[in-house]
Symmetry: C2
Subunit: 156 residues, 2 copies
DNA sequence: ACATTATATATGAAAAATCATATATAATGT
DNA sequence: ACATTATATATGATTTTTCATATATAATGT
């Protein structure tokens, strides 16, 4: 066992795992001609079309201004649509298009296969426990959203 | 429970946890006038002074070229030293200076307190299990290093 | 020894991401 | 209604990071 501080430091362990596996999958994405940024936006819109831009930014882990620019690009590629909310004209809701779905859906299958591969190094008990623990940890993020006045409920 | 793909997708869960907690801690770093990049380089050198630049890059999760530039900056601030390996004059070993240690050591204490805070939302069993699982997952990264011909052993 | 190939780091251009702030709309208090 | 404050998104400048490739040294095969 290592006695370096970093090897037992949770933030490093999380960053290492996230980085290693994401880069692996991003390699597959790039081979399919899709940038990681495009993936991260579209994958959030598949199950929640119409998300407001700021909320989309929080889920995609991008800054709001970066998200504005990414959405601009994706609008240009007809992968998403931007709609101004008529109840609150400051808000922009972002919708994935049929073209966008066509692009992302085969990639979701790849993502599932890759995830299976990552998890194959763990036994069934560890696999279940890992996700359960990460879900518990995710509550801090959800709290941030509530503090900011965002709803956590699923959008229909 | 959410039925969105992403909420149960391991790579998203890992990215979310890593991002949320790292940003929290980076806030503390910035308040102390230290950039995340500086932290990530120095924290890797505290326990392994003299790491070769490419290996440092792998641990700090930066590109090699980015690491070259960060080391340049830190050399300018007298926080690290660059030494050409006389056995292999292509290699650069990077050493933390006394000044560098003086800067980083109080931050390590902050990092430990923050980690305790993060882990306080879990029970003792989950805490232990999480680190154990992340250590298992980290082996894929170690394998990458071996493939690249780098040693995993601790440097004295 | 020499040519070939591999490796380690550096460099400059390009792309990605952040930061500070502007603009527009909405909510609140008087 | 009006002023004040808050919120959502957009914009331009800046910083960070990556990408492609150059340079220097080392290792390998003949």
């Amino acid at each position: 066992m290592s006695d370096r501080f970093i090897d037992n430091y949770l933030l490093f362990q999380l960053a290492l795992a996230s980085h290693t596996f994401s880069e692996e999958f991003y390699g597959q994405l790039r081979a399919a001609g899709v940038s990681p940024a495009k993936w991260r936006i579209l994958i959030n819109l598949v199950d929640c079309p119409g998300m407001y831009l700021t909320r989309l930014a929080k889920y995609a882990l991008y800054e709001q201004s970066r998200t504005t620019k990414l959405v601009d690009q994706l609008v240009g590629e007809k992968l998403v649509e931007r709609r101004i909310d008529q109840k609150d004209r400051r808000r922009v809701s972002v919708h994935i298009t049929a073209t966008g779905r066509g692009l992302i859906e085969p990639l979701i299958e790849k993502a599932k296969l890759h995830e299976d591969d990552v998890l194959s190094s763990l036994n069934a008990s560890d696999r279940k426990r890992l996700k359960s623990i990460l879900t518990k940890l995710a509550k801090r993020h959800s709290e941030d959203m509530q503090v900011l006045g965002l709803q956590i409920v699923d959008t229909a």
